[in-house]
Point group: C2
Chain length 432, copies 2
């Protein structure tokens, strides 16, 4: 299809939503991609570009002239425009900014000053703010008369003389009230103000907790400078959940469309952690080489204790990390209860599995003492998993680290080493 | 505080948002909880109850009389009301329904007929639908005059004579248009209709992909029967991401506030899988007991191959599951490319780590052949991890299973067994 027929390709793309066109581009083979871009460059909607994944977006943007980019940036909402510009090198960024109208340029330059992943980056500058003294009629006339408004919006913000937000009015209330009704009589005064430097994770929490559609962003002086809408937050919630997931298994920040060597390198960090982990475990085992030489059966059974402890621990750690993220656990209130609960859960399951595996192991090698050692080591390790699985992420959160990052590999190191140590140690004591 | 002073407790709760009160309740110790409920039962807002986690919500609801429950249900939006009622036993459910006004009752009874986690359950019945023949003025007059409307809403739906949706109008457009403008001139005709039996995961995808604020839900005949708003979808996205996360580590469906024995039982399923997994691995090792008896160093190094393969595999599987969820991978288009990429990534990293660990292992035990065996087994296992980590979830998705569930434990079984087998097998060949 991408073999030259420009008109056909364009007519196929035209009815599609920008997000779908972006997906289409992401599914193309590299050689098709170049061809596709050559053909459609000028027909691509600015929105399509901002829907692309980071790696591809950079690729597409690199091929565009600064003036062309400036046109794209002008048509985007200010939050998407900042996203696009922040990836550019300084020189290109400067050239694009020079090609922008003054007001737009000011907005974006300021947007770029906020830290990445902050409310200042999420917000858009386009919003509708009206003075508290207006009534519904004045507001409607203003909306009808003014050309410089966002495409679609859902709440009005009411501001005082200093530009500080004092309330918000859902549009449905404006529509349903008589023209003479004062805005101050129908506005919600309970605003959830978001300072511009708030982390996006905290913003997502606010929206989820209070089912907000939009929230006003204020500067250090408390003045209204932008609005965050729920569709931006949907993206953040998705990203944050993904981040937790990837961090726990040790993948870290990934871009699905990154080339092989970049992906390989991203994975290395946690493989190194695993390497150190297994070397420590190997060192623990090496202390018992003589015992194993006499009883090779120990080598057969020894991975069981480590694996059961490790699995139980990763379950606990995942639940704990999620509970911290959703604030079901708050480090200063209910920690004791949570830890006690997981110790109890670990102990209950440990008893059951120790009984099963101890019996099985004992009969397999015709040695009941061996079964007893296996069971005892397993109980020890699974209870430890319950304790470490809750306390490691909670302590990391308290110390200001991301509880998801590294907690998994760190825990596995302890359950491996303790599992091998407990099993081989007990075996040395009771079997020799 | 909860030592009797009813008025004080009530005055403390009163200014709080229902979601915060629900969090407060979730943080109480069991004995405090009972006291708190006794005191605040009648002051609790219906919304607070619907914000509670499942276990607690059931506890609170069980203590209420059907008539009291009916009052709560009446005040809730229809989607929240259905959530609340579906957990009740049949008898209580019937009693509550009998206490409801006829229209409300009909809505809820129908809501309960939709499958759990479907669009029919997510939607609310309260919506604003207007005929396409109206103009802006008629619409505004209707909105001002009609008492029976949702609290706040963001889009109007335009329907034809048969009740089928033909367009939607963001309220901002109604406000900004002159009274004489026909709705059919300002409406969006590109509707994303959601059949009532659509799975909520597909609904979440629609909202995320097209940044929707609301979407019309239609019955089998195509008639408008409800609307899904983005705040409900935020909850779904959160739930689905959490589900993927918990499934990959094998926790399954969890309720953070469930009692110890319930939690312990929920975890058992995957511990059983781990148990079977390690028993198979133990069986593989037991085939090489003689070799290990001669070279206990093998027992020291053998967990390394398994752990590196397992870790690499879980990384790949997690990335693949996420890519399937976000539709970055679609089973019929780009599978070949993805698998090839992960094979390449696995091979690159395997070479590096095999060189490091092979050298280390060789020198540690003064036996270069041993180091070579370790390195070769590791390359084999990590490349396998790249292959299995991508193909297992993709095949599961193709067969109609949830790719997250069980893929992790299944993969670990293969990397453990193959890791031990490759390492011990090569050792037996080359060292004896």
């Amino acid at each position: 299809l991408a073999a030259g027929d420009v008109a056909l390709v364009e007519s196929l793309i035209e009815p599609l939503h920008p997000a779908d066109v972006a997906d289409l581009i992401e599914h193309l083979e590299p050689e098709q991609l170049q061809l596709f871009l050559d053909i459609t460059r000028h027909a691509l909607e600015p929105e399509t570009i901002s829907h692309l994944d980071e790696t591809l977006r950079e690729e597409v943007v690199e091929q565009m002239a600064p003036a062309e980019l400036a046109r794209v940036v002008t048509e985007l909402d200010s939050d998407d425009a900042v996203d696009l510009l922040e990836d550019l090198d300084d020189e290109t960024q400067r050239q694009v900014l020079e090609n922008l109208p003054a007001e737009e340029r000011g907005f974006i330059e300021q947007g770029l000053t906020y830290p990445e992943d902050s409310a200042g980056r999420l917000m858009q500058r386009e919003l509708v703010a009206v003075p508290a003294s207006w009534d519904v009629g004045q507001t409607i006339d203003h909306l009808r008369g003014s050309a410089d408004l966002p495409d679609d919006f859902y709440d009005l913000f009411v501001v005082d003389a200093a530009g500080k937000p004092v309330g918000s009015v859902p549009l449905s209330r404006v529509l349903r009230s008589k023209r003479g009704t004062g805005l101050n009589r129908i506005m919600d005064e309970e605003l959830r103000l978001v300072p511009a430097d708030t982390d996006q994770e905290a913003v997502a929490y606010l929206f989820r907790q209070y089912a907000l559609m939009s929230a006003p962003v204020v500067d250090a002086a408390g003045r209204l400078i932008g609005v965050i809408t729920v569709d931006d937050v949907v993206r953040v919630i998705d990203e944050e959940a993904e981040e937790d997931l990837l961090n726990i298994v040790g993948v870290g920040d990934t871009d699905f469309h990154a080339p092989v060597h970049v992906t390989a390198f991203q994975r290395v960090r946690w493989l190194v952690v695993t390497l150190v982990n297994t070397l420590i475990a190997a060192f623990v085992i090496s202390r018992f080489e003589d015992t194993i030489g006499h009883y090779p059966a120990l080598a057969v059974l020894m991975p069981i204790t480590a694996a059961m402890g490790g699995n139980a621990g990763v379950q606990v750690i995942t639940v704990t990390v999620r509970a911290l993220a959703t604030r079901d656990i708050t480090p200063n209130s209910n920690v004791g209860r949570i830890v006690m609960k997981e110790l109890a859960v670990g102990f209950m399951n440990a008893l059951v599995f120790a009984a099963i595996l101890g019996t099985l192991g004992g009969f397999w090698f015709g040695n009941l003492a061996l079964g007893f050692v296996l069971g005892a080591a397993m109980i020890f390790n699974m209870v430890w998993a319950g304790f470490a699985g809750t306390t490691i992420p909670i302590v990391m959160e308290k110390l200001g680290f991301d509880p998801a990052t590294g907690a998994g590999p760190f825990l596995t190191t302890t359950t491996d080493c303790l599992g091998f140590f407990a099993f081989l140690g007990l075996a040395t004591l009771f079997l020799t």
